[in-house]
């Protein structure tokens, strides 16, 4: 299996390899070009020398007219001897026939004649010319000069270039590695931070640094981490709330259940007089009533939460007056006065549910009031208010009042027959309508509940 490379490794290789390849190729071509230039120059200079030598040869060998036939061979020998020290060789042909050769075996050479050619591993410049002097007309002269030094120079040039290229490549590799590492460092940090988040550390963040892209990526990453963290917290809180609801509900259900079972057992096991028996039965009935109330409210809540509400025009002022009327009896028992200050006001909503909402709020307000308290129901275009001048609540209590089964004073509120679900139900109804439900309260001064449409 091929191991996947990291971004910085790929970037490194992709940058370094072509550069190194181009540098080697460039330097090698340069060396080859230099070499061919040198060869041309050498051939040129050799040609000049050869022309000079050929003319001299003609002048030197002119003497057959004076000294006879042997002169030519003598001059050839002289030239051959002159050149040997300088690794310069001559071949003379007369009518295609070799008459003199200062090389041990020169015939092959002439057969595959080239200006620049290799003999036994060494290079030579080979030139030829047909002599034009009257006395040497049948002769052709070959010029063979050693040029192996060019090969040597070429080899050392190549070695030099390779050395230079290697040195440059190595330093480039080092500098590039440093630069790319530095450039991809933000990415690496991002990777580490994601690993930490993946491992569950939701507080992990990255520093915004590096290029525009990495800074913006870091920004997005941190924003994502924030969102995930916030959602996790919300989920946790939700789960906690649910767990608390279950715990509270267990408690709320067990309490009346204990009384019901206990008194039933008591009636069965103990020998009771008529009065005791009736007392026990009454308790069973009232506790069963309490259970019934809790289950009804829970069902209401579940029903409201899971069903679309009907939307119809509801006259809020009429609803408030109706609520006040229904609770008049209860208010009178506590000497509480209910005042309705309602101007014409209609909203779109479910009349039954809104009626339940105002009934619960008003009932709570009456419970909060002392003797001779006042409860005011009011509404205007944008909202409705239920306020009382009762005992009020602390800010701490305010944050809990819509939680199921939360009671500020549990013995008192149970004595008054509350299920502990009234405000929870109100909140659910308000939420389903998309209305805002806000509580403001001061201990000792009273509470004001505002429903914003």
């Amino acid at each position: 299996m091929v191991k996947k490379m990291k971004f910085w490794q790929i970037a490194y290789i992709v940058t370094l390899l072509p550069f190194v390849f181009c540098m080697y190729a460039g330097l090698l071509s340069l060396a080859v070009y230099t070499f061919s230039e040198q060869v041309d120059n050498r051939v040129e200079s050799c040609r000049a020398e050869f022309e000079y030598l050929a003319r001299n040869f003609e002048l030197d060998s002119r003497s057959p007219l004076e000294f006879g036939e042997g002169t030519l061979s003598y001059v050839m020998e002289a030239y051959g001897a002159y050149g040997k020290n300088d690794r310069l060789y001559f071949i003379f042909q007369k009518n295609g026939e070799t008459v003199y050769c200062s090389l041990p075996d020169g015939s092959d050479l002439i057969a595959k004649w080239e200006e620049f050619q290799r003999i036994d591993g060494d290079r030579y410049v080979i030139l030829k010319t047909d002599l034009s002097a009257e006395w040497a007309k049948e002769y052709r002269m070959y010029y063979i000069r050693y040029a192996g030094d060019l090969d040597d120079a070429f080899q050392s040039l190549i070695l030099l270039y390779i050395g230079v290229a290697t040195l440059v490549s190595a330093s480039l590799a080092a500098v590039l590695l440093f630069l790319i590492k530095k450039l991809t460092k933000p990415l690496e940090e991002l990777e580490k931070a994601s690993d930490r988040i993946a491992a569950g550390d939701l507080t992990s963040r990255v520093k915004a640094q590096g290029t525009v892209e990495t800074v913006s990526l870091a920004g997005s990453f941190n924003a994502m981490a924030d969102t995930v963290g916030a959602q996790m917290r919300e989920l946790e809180q939700n789960a906690e709330r649910k767990q608390m609801l279950v715990n509270n509900m267990a408690h709320e259900l067990r309490t009346p259940l204990t009384s019901i079972m206990g008194y039933a057992e008591y009636i069965g096991r103990a020998s009771l007089n008529e009065e005791e028996r009736i007392d026990a039965c009454m308790r069973i009935m009232s506790e069963a009533e309490r259970l019934k109330k809790i289950s009804e409210k829970l069902l209401d809540k579940a029903y409201i939460e899971h069903n679309e509400i009907k939307k119809e025009e509801v006259d809020i002022s009429a609803l408030l007056r109706d609520t006040a009327e229904r609770l008049k009896q209860k208010a009178n028992e506590k000497s509480v006065t209910i005042t309705v200050e309602a101007s014409e006001c209609t909203v779109s909503g479910d009349e039954t549910l809104l009626s339940v909402l105002f009934y619960n709020l008003t009932e709570n307000a009456i419970k909060a009031c002392g003797k001779d308290g006042r409860v005011t129901l009011s509404c205007e275009g944008s909202g409705a208010c239920v306020s009382d001048d009762g005992k009020g609540m602390t800010p701490e209590q305010l944050t809990h009042i819509t939680e199921p089964f939360y009671r500020i004073d549990k013995s008192r509120s149970r004595a008054e027959g509350g299920a502990g679900l009234g405000l929870t139900l109100c909140r659910t109804i308000a939420e389903q309508h998309g209305f805002g439900l806000d509580f403001s309260s001061q201990p000792g001064k009273g509470t004001k509940i505002t429903l914003t449409f």
């Binding site: 267990a250 408690h251 309490t255 259940l257 009384s259 079972m261 008591y266 308790r283 004073d409």
Partner: protein, 218 residues
């Protein structure tokens, strides 16, 4: 018999505990919040405190720290293991989860009282005296010869007096669960007890439920 303080904010449950513990001969005082419980413990000596965990004011977990050696039985609707462990770690003798059976409550109260040796040594009704230390019974001053099982049965009736006990429960209490007998074993023993002690008018048969020892000592 024992002096018991009941700290429970639910009036019906508080009354229920009081009524039943009174029937079996205990003397009960009722308080409805944590602060009152602490005050009451400072003012008087109690043999046992029956304590609700979720009390207004100081919670049961706070009250137990100020119980000064009074044995405590927690009564609570919280049945999570962590709560139970916390209660026991704080030094509670026992832990009763609502809803509970009355006989279970009576049994646990009796067990804790016996552990603290605050159960009475003897119990008398009419001319019968039951001596729990020497495990003997006398009627009109004369010893009555009872078999060990008959004595155990009588003791169960005395501990749960004024409460009807079913045959099954009596089997469990006296013969232990492994016993391979049936209701008729109980019936025979009850007949013999009635005859030996002459308590036919006290040890009554209760329709559908079993037997009940009716004595007025409260």
């Amino acid at each position: 018999m024992a002096k018991i303080l009941i700290a429970e904010d639910e009036l019906p449950i508080n009354d229920l505990i009081k009524k039943n513990l009174r029937l079996v001969g205990h003397e009960c005082t009722q308080v409805f919040d944590g602060d009152a419980a602490v005050r009451e413990l400072e003012n008087a000596h109690y043999d046992l405190l029956i304590l609700d965990v979720m009390l207004p004011g100081q919670s049961g977990f706070e009250v137990i720290g100020q119980a000064n050696g009074t044995p405590v039985i927690f009564v609570t609707a919280k049945d999570q293991l962590s709560d139970r462990l916390r209660g026991l770690r704080l030094g509670a003798e026992d832990y009763i989860v609502k809803p509970f059976e009355i006989l279970e409550l009576v049994e646990r109260v009796h067990t804790v009282l016996r552990r603290f040796r605050t159960t009475p040594h003897a119990f008398s009704f009419d001319d019968v005296t039951v001596d729990f230390d020497s495990r003997t019974v006398s009627k009109g001053g004369k010893p009555v010869d009872l078999t060990p099982k008959e004595f155990d049965l009588l003791e169960a009736f005395v501990v749960n007096r004024n409460l009807a006990l079913s045959r099954d429960r009596l089997l469990a209490l006296v013969w232990s669960y492994g016993f391979d007998g049936d209701g008729r074993t109980v019936d025979t023993h009850v007949q013999r007890l009635r005859k030996k002690l002459g308590i036919e008018n006290r040890l009554k048969t209760v329709y559908k439920l079993g037997y009940r020892l009716e004595v007025n000592d409260g």
